[in-house]
Symmetry: C2
Subunit: 435 residues, 2 copies
């Protein structure tokens, strides 16, 4: 007999779950304070809802689901597990014309991608998104930047940098170097700068047909020093009207983000930032943690065309996704996931069968008073019960022997302080709570 | 262009999400107090992990998933979405021999079943389970009863009844009426008593080959008055050794549950209770709400053979599932889902472009002080901004005009009280919090 998980997925054990819950609660509280509303969508969508939105790679990596039970027959896979939370949101918005706009929603939920299995890459992982639907205002873009920056700060990473660019700048750059027919491959090459270096990018764009002159012009643009308004001024020189519209938008986004309290050193205009997904149309951004060997820990941008792919109306959207899986890895590696590491505060022991009911009454009273209390379930000697409490790391053990039972009392032993005290049952919770 | 959800699934809108979060938080707090630990498992499992555990119906209703992207080709569906949370738990336990037992875990997560689409029945719904792994002690069964009873009480349904039976009693009953070869169909017929009535059950068991005598004997057993020890005494008379072992276990479970503080009127031994799932081996139970037109709102039982189907070791388990979807329907129908119904506490208006930064500083200060604050995103007149705040049902609106901006103040209008006040920015949060 053998037993396995499906390929590329994992169980989340209690200690991991406690960390996950803590991180999600922190992010959720930030989303709430920013006025985002919770929304959830089903795990699977119609196949035609998902395909054609992410590019070829995304279409290939979707998990397709067979119709009701039949299994195996060709052509019956007309549904697929969601690949991200953005396309389902766009589908939702298209289906709800009555929605009052702007609509700000958050969603934290798993998505599924049939990635080749490898260490640290999973086929099921959580996304954690905040999006604003129904306005082209750069205030919405800045709100998304700010909510991500605040959440990442409150998770313990104040030293992050949000890199910022605009798809219109990238498109204008492609035109400026004569690569308007190869815009997407050009952006993909530029996006890999961190991975393949300058020579790698130059080689890739040369394969797209760019000559030495064009490549030199490309680097002239990409080498503009990272910064704020100065960077935008330097970029504008090289770009056409559409590119300059992107520059103007970013100028506004920066100003608003600063007014919202995002510190200047947290923001950086970066013309090499492309972001992979097909559906972005305006500002794009991602958050990196300098000095840590980890990719971006949030990413997002404006996608004004996506809802229109589902209905006649064009409804502008902008959103951000916070990489809680990566942040969890960092917090765990750095020993900074501070959460209750035990299942309970106290183990109530069972003295013997005659005093079992008294022990049960004690555990019920402790629970009713809000204490996390466990009662020893098996018929074992007191020594084995103490060993269990110790192995589980419980701080407190409660005894209800013949004397305690007769007097309505309980003896509480504090492993941390090495002391014990006998008190009336109704005072037990406050003793445990007080220490 | 048309846009649809997949068949039989639904979106969860913000108001529904707030209700769901509130209910889940209540249940989770109860699980925590009882010393259950959180665990999560992946949405999909290997097909061979899931099949053959739920009976034919379950196997038919599993959503099968195709391997990586290929789509359509026969025979490649080697994974399936989980059908419940119990079989994945058993698979997890089998894979983790190092687990310290007893292990008490809770899990709240969606499951998927390809049910025929009909009103009020969904193909994706949440299950909410607490299980105890690794002990045959009736204390574990009673803990599961008690945790469900406590959670259902705290959700606002103190007037519930937990019906209780034992699979061994049911099997002994089948033998007592000479139907040991038709045990499962007999139990299925008995389980339908509420739906098809006495005559319906009699007709069904007659089709299984029971004669008048056997049917009379069946009713003699099933008609034992519902109660506690008295019911068990009356049942014992009709049953063989295995049946009486079931009776003895239930006697213990009742005694322990009472000692844990479950009120006697909440518990009822009921020989007609069968529970459908194949894997139960000992006590089974479910919770009903008398006077409400809704099926059971929790169900569970002991399944000592399931882990052994995955590994050589037999590891006893007992668990309970709380029907939060049904409880949510009732709470909503009865207008008892009391949750914040707005996205934010306050809308910060934007006076004009010159004072936008001051408005943004105000919204940032309010959020930093823990207030749920939204800033108006579009470039519109004040009247439109007020209309938006009203339509969204926000109690407070904040203004930062030229005078407020110059003085570092903000004017807060309280729609509920019909008053307004101008205060320094750093006092704004406490005004909103105080009222």
């Amino acid at each position: 007999m053998s037993v396995h998980l499906a390929k590329g997925v994992r169980d989340y054990l209690p200690e991991q779950m406690r960390g996950r819950h803590a991180v999600m609660a922190t992010v959720r509280a930030v989303f709430d304070r920013f006025g985002f509303e919770p929304l959830d969508t089903p795990a699977f969508e119609r196949l035609d809802t998902l395909t054609g939105k992410y590019g070829d790679e995304g279409d290939k990596l979707m998990f397709r689901i067979l119709q009701r039970g039949e299994g195996g027959e060709a052509g019956l896979a007309d549904q697929a597990l969601r690949y991200d939370l953005t396309v389902p949101l766009a589908r939702f918005v298209a289906m709800h014309p009555e929605l009052r706009l702007p609509f700000k929603r958050w969603q934290m939920a798993p998505v599924w991608r049939a990635e080749r299995a490898q260490r640290g890459r999973f086929r099921e992982f959580y996304q954690c998104d905040a999006d604003i639907v129904g306005t082209t205002s750069p205030m919405a873009d800045a709100e998304c930047l700010a909510v991500a920056s605040t959440a990442i700060t409150e998770l313990g990473f104040p030293d992050h940098v949000v890199r910022l660019n605009d798809r219109r700048i990238l498109r204008a750059m492609a035109r400026a170097v004569g690569a308007h027919d190869h815009e997407l491959p050009l952006l993909i090459a530029v996006d890999k700068l961190d991975k393949i270096g300058r020579d790698g990018v130059s080689a890739e764009v040369r394969r797209l047909g760019l000559d030495d002159d064009a490549i030199a012009r490309l680097w002239q643009i990409l080498d503009v020093p990272r910064g704020h308004a100065d960077t935008l001024d330097a970029l504008a020189v090289h770009l056409d009207d559409e590119g300059r519209a992107g520059v103007d938008t970013l100028r506004e986004v920066l100003r608003i983000a600063f007014a919202l309290g995002v510190a200047p050193e947290r923001l950086q205009v970066d013309p090499t930032l492309a972001r992979g997904l097909d559906y972005y149309t305006g500002p794009v951004f991602e958050t990196v943690l300098p000095g840590r060997n980890m990719g971006s820990v949030s990413g997002g941008g404006r996608y004004d065309g996506l809802v229109g792919m589902f209905c006649g109306r064009q409804i502008p959207c902008v959103g951000v996704s916070i990489g809680i899986e990566r942040l969890l890895v960092l917090l765990e590696e750095e020993g900074r996931l501070e959460v209750a590491s035990t299942a309970a505060d106290v183990l109530v022991t069972v003295h013997d069968d005659d005093h079992r009911d008294a022990a049960l009454a004690a555990v019920a009273a402790l629970r009713a008073a809000g204490v996390r209390a466990e009662v020893f379930l098996d018929d074992k000697k007191l020594k084995a019960q103490l060993k269990y409490a110790n192995a589980r790391g419980y701080r407190w053990v409660a005894f209800v022997g013949p004397e305690e039972a007769a007097a309505g009392q309980v003896t509480l032993k504090d492993f941390a302080a090495g002391k014990q005290v006998t008190v009336p049952l109704h005072e037990a919770a406050s003793v445990i709570g007080m220490e």
